[in-house]
Subunit: 474 residues, 3 copies
């Protein structure tokens, strides 16, 4: 039987206009092999700490990837049939080959999506597969991938080297003891695998576990977290602890970009209400907003870079949340305002030369209207790359087209892969590199920058800006 | 005198990049002659029931087409001079030749608009005109068109065949007795001309005729529509009646996408308030929202596909509304939110495999931010094509560019012409086919999908997805 | 030492697709030398009244241009080091050469921005510079520019002729005595340099000087501005005075597009509250909204064209505002709604054939959703060009792509340079002409308009529509 070939075209994602394509090729040739800087993501530190082999193809590619099963679910395929574990322990499909076959059968659904491109790139470049994934080749795929995963060359640290990842940041909650990072501490890997401080669990009073978390925060730090000042001291304590494990940045995943600037007395009262477990939604929102401002103040003190990732309506589908838990593809973006929302924080700290905030959005309407003008004025603000649903060729192009004219390139910070799918990291960075080269090639072809400037920019966007913005060395 | 030629270029709407254009040509060649599926529109069932000739050129092209007279009105041309009937019976221009001359004189205003493209296509392909419409050719146009319309070849059924329309859905209100569909019933045409159930008249309590409509609904169905349960039973009764005339879908043109999920007691009280004629705007909005959820429940019962078309501010210009009535080009889109608005309905029914909802929007900012993520997760949701003001080459391209990466192609439903302009139907479908081929050609040229996949997708987008989504046969 | 050349490519900003580029070249060749119509801008009437030489390079290019120092500030360069005057008189950099060197050193930050393109065009075409601005060429640049500025050929009136500016409108507040326009009155220049009536200072009750301004308005006009009727009469009086100095238009820079339609009694009470100095934010907003409707009424009486420029959050950064004052690059766009906001005004006057309103926006999401449908229906509405942050190649393309299909070309009004940077005016108009030709070339290449239509449109967009919309002669 004749299988369809799987071939990654060397010009993929470049413009098909020959003049622009040739310029893109030339820019890309010079930056495609630069080391990967991965300053924001969600890989598991255990991989790098203990260097165990990954499992089978389904375990690696389907069960952890909500981009994948979200799309399958949208077309009527149950999460149970994909082996996604239920919270109630009810039976789900256990046979990884059956799961893989179901995936292969429906792989056509991903046509035109970034998941399709990332997966094909991994199949081809990481596993050397040269036929397309179809129902006919599903078994072959399963065997090739699962066999390879059992070899030393496919252990996490070997892949780190093969992928040429210079540094990767994981993300941990404020209560995480960083035991896996402790296992790395003192080894040469400690410079390459760093943590990021994400305190949503002790800042978001709408969480069911918030009151408990504040108590635990007190236990871990030895501070009296029943008082506002003790709570702040505990957070400072945790920031310092995280910095010991390489953290240069914090991360904040709030529903909105709201910030606040309350008096100390108001903060004390609001905090007391929140830890009483009886706060209203409005008070919880205000508290998150106040905490962004407090955390900005701490960033000025300790130099950590602040990342703000607002705008996701988490767990929109309660049936999925109740049965399968968080991060199951049911988070939906919603409209997000920045100009009024950030004003209290910016009024207090916006002109402080020690503050560094990287803003992200799921609402592309703010690129040209709000974010580029804000970043094009305030010295503390830079713009993170196209995020999540917009981490895609079209999304990245919209970002550059809408942001560059007002914010320039130097108020942006290079690429974030933001992924828990470790094997896809080179593929994701490659998409970003190709799209940046494509965009720069267009500017050159239209005589809007010189070719020499294009080359300098390609280097900066691929490598230098990420290191600089996240304080990972010049 | 030398007239300007009217020539439809075979490559129109394709990219001018030769590589992309050639791919588009090849995709288009295979799907351009596929039958037309028209699952949502506003043609008059009388045409197909009684097969009478159409009138003159002005009667056909100007008076019923609010796209046309809206633009003319915006440039200071009165509706009276275009022969649009006034509600008060005051005189308006009666001479169709004078109206046609005025139109020809101002035809340049349509440069760059889809109306221009549709009209030119009809002039050329339906009437064989080979000179451009200008003041100099106005008389020639009027004669050619008016004479042709009097011939048997231009009767509605003959045009249905000539246009290769496999099936067309009209849209009727809940109180419509479907007498024209009755006239078709039992003939071979009944399979090709079907109705759609649009119950806005008995769901929207803000309408002046709402209370009367509910009473009529009771009379027609024999149900006691003074009670909430009787009202629901009456709607179920009408849905069943509409299905007898081929209806596979319902349609809902609400100001917003709000849904609600009230208790039965709350519904009873709200319904009672609404039929008292004393409901507030907020109550009317809540009632529409509750009814979307009720209607979704009925769709699960009877299998009808639900179309939601929110976001038009109807009759924005009261002078036009008072003098000329509805649908006179004074409907203006406004911002429309879906993520919070649909949550009550989705919480109740969003994971039910029997539910099928097709979402439309006039607010393009939600394509990538809200609609694609929702449709890329919920099994009940699919996305309708670019609608109304966005049913245009640029609008369709924005739709595909912004939706595909998150929702894929298979959460979309092909094209709707949504028109009352019967003669323009092939032209409108042709624009959609060309733009889809253009978009697919770009993906192929940039090595994002294979050529083979492009061909499969072109077929699906043109023919298969519409039939499947609207349950018109595989 | 080998300096990098500065070369303006003749095809800059055209598509790199050869077919589209060649069409753009041909369109551009015919319109590039048409006279400049500048119906909306912020040049200083003193320049044209007294024809004094400009100062040095830094004084001309940096100190007055908030596009320039905004970007430098965003990258941590203090305004003091750029010589921007502080309100408290504290010392700032005085040496224009040091300022120029700092600018040259950071000129790379502007890569990809319109400022970069405008500046390069001025450097090359106005000053004949043929090397790029870098730290190495900074001194050369400073000398060439500063020396040239001292010559007669670089006096304002000589540049007006050299730039082929047929007419330019300045913008003055309602209390301005127009003394510089008086100095021009009676000379041949009076036809070329006209004023525009911008009454924000006497309409916006949120201004600290509002109460004083109303008193001054009374003094200037001899009307009793403590009464609503006297206040309106005073505004009418000022409008008439401005028309004596050529004004054909008014301009309104409100935070939102809100309009209102209150009874006379309500107006009287609201006005009394506003001039008491004790109005709330809500009352101030309502008053601005009512005044837009009043001013529309006056436009119907006196024929002045009304420009509405809403949506800027002015002085977002209080540190900058307190230390340096207004217009220092800290104005940020925010979301702006038009459909509901304009309804009261449109209900009252929207169908009056004597009313002409030109709408602008900083919120591009409204182009296709709100503005094009409104302008494509209401005879009084036309759309101003892409404004401020969107006055850029990408911004202009988005405008045309999103507006044309619904509003056509003839509901737009050509280009506004909107600038106080006099030397950049030809560069700015050139960008608009190139982008319009590029857009038209694409429509021709895709067979959406004919080549003949493209040429007619290029002329209209460059020259005729601006003259017509602003009543500057046919």
């Amino acid at each position: 039987m004749q299988h369809k070939p799987l071939q990654l075209h060397p010009d993929r994602l470049f413009s098909s206009d020959p003049a622009v394509r040739d310029l893109a090729r030339s820019l890309y040739a010079e930056i495609k092999d630069l080391p990967i800087i991965s300053p924001h993501g969600h890989t598991d530190p255990r991989w790098f700490a203990y260097d165990q082999n990954f499992g089978n193809a389904s375990e690696l590619f389907i069960r952890p990837d909500h981009y994948v099963f979200r799309m399958l679910y949208s077309q009527g395929i149950s999460l149970e049939s994909l082996g996604i574990r239920r919270q109630d322990g009810a039976p789900v499909e256990q046979d990884p080959r059956k799961i893989w076959d179901l995936f292969a059968e429906n792989f056509y659904l991903f046509r035109g999506t970034p998941s399709r491109m990332w997966l094909d790139t991994v199949f081809s470049q990481v596993f050397g597969l040269d036929v397309a994934l179809t129902p006919d080749t599903a078994s072959h795929y399963y065997d090739v991938i699962t066999n390879a995963l059992a070899t030393p060359a496919f252990k996490p640290r070997a892949l780190m080297d093969r992928f040429n990842i210079e540094v990767i940041a994981t993300t941990e909650g404020a209560l995480d003891l960083l035991e896996h990072h402790q296992a790395i501490e003192g080894t040469p890997w400690a410079k390459r695998v760093i943590t990021t401080f994400r305190p949503d669990d002790v800042v978001d009073a709408s969480r069911e576990d918030f009151v408990d978390n504040i108590a635990k925060l007190g236990e871990i730090t030895g501070e009296d977290t029943s008082s506002w000042q003790g709570y702040l001291a505990a957070i400072r304590n945790r920031r310092e602890y995280f910095r010991r494990f390489g953290a240069t940045a914090t991360d904040h995943g709030h529903p909105t970009a709201l910030t606040a600037n309350l008096s100390v007395a108001e903060c004390e009262a609001l905090f007391a209400k929140c830890i009483s477990g009886k706060s209203s939604e409005g008070e919880q929102e205000l508290f998150r907003g106040q905490m962004l401002t407090e955390l900005a103040g701490m960033s000025i003190e300790d130099g950590m870079v602040m990342q703000i990732h607002p705008g996701a309506f988490r767990n929109h589908n309660p049936v999925i949340f109740d049965n399968f838990g968080r991060d199951k593809g049911a988070d939906i973006p919603s409209q997000t305002e920045y100009v009024h929302a950030l004003k209290p924080l910016l009024e207090k700290y916006g002109n402080n030369p020690k503050l560094n905030i990287i803003l992200f959005t799921l609402d592309e309407t703010v690129y040209a209207r709000e974010l580029a003008p804000l970043a094009g004025h305030y010295p503390c603000l830079k713009l993170g790359p196209a995020w999540w649903f917009h981490d895609s060729p079209e999304g990245m192009l919209r970002f550059r087209h809408q942001v560059t004219e007002t914010a320039g390139f130097y108020n942006t910070v290079g690429f974030n892969d933001d992924t828990r799918a470790f094997l896809s990291i080179p593929a994701r960075h490659d998409v970003a590199r190709r799209i940046d080269c494509r965009f720069l090639a267009q500017l050159i072809a239209e005589h809007r920058i010189t070719e020499e400037e294009g080359h300098a920019l390609a280097y900066d966007l691929t490598y230098r800006l990420a290191k600089k913005a996240y304080k990972l060395g010049e």
